[in-house]
Every structure is written in structure tokens, then in C-alpha cells.
């Protein structure tokens, strides 16, 4: 299991380009590790652009059950998690 801290990877979670940088880190980590913990410690807000660019392309490569099993999101807030869920739900037909 490996921990990726968003704040160390991209400093903040605001833009598409930051999301792309996080996605690249996630993809590298997922090639080497089965389980990934994504920490939003120190991040107070995210945008849909960031989440769409970072997590949706990952979701495109696997079933949602595998995505949920492999990626754990911690040290977040209800606001951030709400946006993450809304973005992932819009990303395709995900089984609830």
C-alpha cells in the first residue's frame, strides 16, 4: 500500500493541469502497488476540473468495483468528497 498526498504532489487541487499531474502520480503508483491511499490532508477545497482530470481517466481503465477496492481517499472533507462523488457519478454509468 502506498500513500499519495495531494498537497505534496500538486500543492492544491484547483486546475485541470494539477489534476493531470496527480493522475500521472496515481498511474505510476498503481503500476507498482495494489492499494493506494490518496490523502487530501492540507487541502481545503477541490474543483470539478481537478477531480475530472485526476480520477476519471483512472476510472476509464477499470471497473468501478476495482477502483473502489484499490483507491482509498482519506483526510478529506464532506465538501471535497461530495464533489468527488458527483464527478465520478457523472463519469459514466456507475453501479451504486
Amino acid at each position: 500500500m502506498v500513500v499519495i498526498e495531494v498537497i505534496r504532489t500538486t500543492c492544491s487541487a484547483d486546475t485541470t493541469s494539477q489534476g493531470e499531474a496527480l493522475r500521472a502520480s496515481l498511474e505510476r503508483a498503481m503500476r507498482e502497488h495494489k492499494d493506494i491511499t490518496l490523502s487530501f490532508s492540507g487541502i481545503s477545497a477541490v474543483t470539478s476540473s481537478f477531480i475530472n482530470a485526476s480520477l476519471l481517466p483512472i476510472l476509464d481503465t477499470m471497473a468501478f468495483d476495482e477502483f473502489k477496492a484499490r483507491i482509498k481517499i482519506v483526510n478529506s472533507t464532506r465538501l471535497i468528497n461530495d464533489i468527488i462523488k458527483r464527478c465520478l457519478l457523472r463519469g459514466g454509468s456507475l453501479a451504486a
Partner: protein
């Protein structure tokens, strides 16, 4: 009605017009002014337009941002904006000077003593790569200090403004927006006005959904899932998040002016909103006029700022 930007300057247009600013500078009066200006120049904009400030009496935040945006837009149309009637410094002129409007456009303040007021964040032109840190380090702490609302509870507004600026970057070639903020302590209201002079929401929307009027296009743009795919990963969430956060939670209202359309979004019930389209004129690019009730935010008890790990469904 679609207002096309004039692109040809008539060689016969030799008289540079003087335009009287209305007594109240706000989104709707400026949209009318801009509409009359564009309609009055069927063969293209003149080289110079002089704005007369002598009848100005009251200014709203959206008026500051909209007017600033109009001048910037004229500049990019190669029309030079000049001012008259501003050297007699009335209270409204002083307000603009304190907001750093004249410093932005004339290179210096009218009065050396002019300075941003404690209830405003002065007019700023900010690029997308700077706005997010500016929100985190400047606006949110300022809003918190003025209203007594803790910063964690204001993060939802930071998200909304960030979404708007990401929208500006995705849809305009200029990647530049203007923002002006004012706190009304007696009314417990904060007004945030953001302007850009891109192509405008209706033009972008009609690339995906042709045949819509400017008002209809603005309403379409805020629907969840509607996207013009300006970036491959875009999903049409940003403007919907803005409306749901402010209007859906009944903590304020949002008016969007863009090209020939302007629409007020207001709360109709839990997570529900109504729209009032208006027919006022022309707004270059887009201006967002956001009004927030600070007491409503204080009374929010939805726990959105609480720390938690994400539980997958």
C-alpha cells in the same frame, strides 16, 4: 437577439462619441448602455469613446466589474476609452478611486489619499494561474475576518469562484478575469462580481446546442452534465456547482450576464431554483453577480466542512 461583435470600422465614422454613464452603475444599466453602444455603431466601433461620469451617483459591485470588463473589451476591439466628468470627485467617483478603478485604467489614482475601503476587496485583474492562491490567501481570510464565519465554512465559495475562473480559462483565449468584492455589514451581504471578456456563454453553448437564445443558453450552461467539452475531461459540473451551492442551499442568488442574455437564479426550495431572464442589452464576455447572505451561511449546519474519509457507495 444575438449581438455580433463589430469587426469592421467604417472609414466614415469620424465622430468619437461621448457616452453618459447612468446614475446607477450596475449590471443591468451597463448591459443596456453597452447594448445601445453596439446598436449605435452598426458599421463598427469608433477609435475612441469618451465616458462621462458626471451623472454617476451609485455603484454596485457588478457595475465595477462589468464596466471594467467593458473597457478592457473595447481595448481589445482597438477602441480607446477616455473619461470625462471624473475629476470632480463626488462620493461615487471617490468609491471608484478607492476601488482602484482609475489606477487600473489611468495608471494612477485620482487622489493620493484614495485607498481600498475596509468593506471592499479592490478591483483586481487576475489570471487563472494566480486566482486560486489569491482566493486561499486573500479573499477567504478577508471574508472570514469581516463576517466572523470560519474559513472552513467558506471553502464552498472558494470552490465556486475557482470553478468560474476555470470556466474562464477553458472558454476564453485571454485567460484573464476581473473580480470585485464588497461586504455590506448592515445588510449581512457580500457581493462578488467576476467578469471576463471572452466569447460569452451563449456562443460556447450554441456550439453544442444550436438554436438557443442567449437567455436559454445561459440556463442550459448551468445544467449538470452539459459541457461544450472545451477540455476532454470536462463534464459540465462547474457552473452547476456554483448555482447549487449558492442558490440551491438558499444562501444567496446569482445573476449571469452574457452577450444578449441575463438570467437571475433564485431559490425555489431545497436544492431547487427558479430563473428570471431579463432583456437588458449586451454584456461582452460574461459577468457573474453573486450575492451571499452571510447569516444564512452561519446558520448552515450541513457539516460540509467537517473532516472525513470518503465512504464509497
Amino acid at each position: 437577439m444575438i449581438r455580433h461583435l463589430p469587426v469592421e470600422v467604417d472609414a466614415c465614422m469620424t465622430i468619437d462619441p461621448t457616452i453618459q454613464l447612468p446614475s446607477t452603475l450596475c449590471g443591468s444599466t451597463l448591459a443596456k448602455l453597452a447594448g445601445d453602444l453596439v446598436d449605435g455603431c452598426p458599421n463598427g466601433l469608433p477609435k475612441t469613446i469618451t465616458f462621462d461620469f458626471s451623472k454617476l451617483r451609485f455603484i454596485e459591485p457588478a457595475g465595477v466589474a462589468f464596466f471594467n470588463n467593458l473597457i478592457l473589451w473595447l481595448h481589445y476591439q482597438e477602441t480607446h476609452a477616455m473619461f470625462m466628468g471624473h475629476t470632480h470627485v463626488t462620493p461615487s467617483i471617490k468609491f471608484l478611486d478607492d476601488s482602484l478603478f482609475f489606477e487600473q485604467h489611468l495608471g494612477k489614482k485620482l487622489l493620493p489619499v484614495s485607498a481600498p475601503r475596509s468593506t471592499t476587496r479592490p478591483l483586481e485583474k487576475i489570471s487563472n494561474d494566480k486566482i486560486h492562491s489569491w482566493l486561499e490567501l486573500n479573499l477567504i481570510p478577508w471574508m472570514s475576518s469581516k463576517t466572523g464565519i470560519r474559513q472552513s465554512k467558506l471553502q464552498r465559495f472558494r470552490t465556486c469562484v475557482s470553478e468560474i475562473f476555470n470556466n474562464i480559462q477553458d472558454h476564453t483565449k485571454y485567460d484573464l478575469g476581473s473580480i470585485f468584492v464588497q461586504f455590506y455589514p448592515k445588510k449581512n451581504i457580500i457581493r462578488i462580481a467576476i467578469s471576463d471578456f471572452g466569447n460569452g456563454i451563449p456562443e460556447s453553448v450554441r456550439k453544442r446546442a444550436g438554436g438557443l437564445t442567449d437567455h436559454e443558453a445561459i440556463i442550459q450552461a448551468v445544467q449538470i452534465g452539459f459541457t461544450t467539452k472545451s477540455k476532454p475531461t470536462n463534464q459540465g459540473m462547474g457552473l452547476n456547482i456554483l448555482i447549487e451551492t449558492i442558490v440551491g442551499n438558499n444562501i444567496g442568488r446569482v445573476t449571469i450576464y452574457s452577450l444578449g442574455g441575463s438570467v437571475l437564479f433564485y431559490n425555489l426550495g431545497p436544492r431547487s431554483y427558479g430563473t428570471i431572464p431579463a432583456h437588458y442589452g449586451f454584456a461582452p464576455g460574461t459577468t457573474f453577480d453573486i450575492e451571499i447572505d452571510t447569516e444564512a451561511i452561519k446558520s448552515l449546519d450541513d457539516g460540509m466542512d467537517e473532516e472525513e474519509d470518503l465512504e464509497w457507495w
